[in-house]
Symmetry: C2
């Protein structure tokens, strides 16, 4: 398998909040997201792990808002409403089950 | 869920090549490894994704050796013999199925 340079891959992403696939890990996958501005509030039927590679993001959930900087991660548990935001461009690596659907608020 | 600062967590790891659990993502988990020196050649029945947070590592496989620096990742496919090495301390974030057994050479 070829190695993946995360920031080099991220440079190819032009639009925010569109999953950019990196690799499948069995029935899960690793993908990147360019976060910029507000995304729509949504939830999923499975867990989702966020890890910030570059920049800073916020994830608003019903009971808390988590601010994440480079090198920080958080799990958003299944069925948790969440809304991502970033003032400036940020690069996020995500791990989740393949084919996960979003339910928008 | 509390956020996780990867490098702060890594400071708690004292011994190389012992999985340090961070979080479950459904039936997968994210964990850290301190890589230093040579690990034993082994394989698993499922895929394993490696992402280097700090330092530099090598993963020797039958047909290739992959060198990874900070910000680089690679997938080791299921049933692939692999042996990890690091000249100096490195911190690696790993993503794999929970409860995965290793088969040593």
């Amino acid at each position: 398998m070829p190695k993946i340079n995360i920031l080099k891959e991220a440079e190819k992403i032009k639009k925010p909040y569109i999953p950019y696939h990196l690799v499948n890990v069995d029935n899960f996958h690793v993908f990147l997201g360019l976060f910029e501005g507000d995304y729509k509030k949504h939830k999923h039927p499975y867990d989702e792990f966020f890890y910030v590679v570059l920049g800073e993001i916020q994830i608003e959930m019903d009971k808390e808002t988590v601010s994440l900087k480079e090198g920080e991660g958080v799990l958003v548990k299944k069925n948790t409403w969440h809304k991502s935001k970033a003032k400036n461009k940020a690069v996020v690596m995500l791990f989740e089950k393949i084919g996960m659907q979003s339910d928008f608020a």
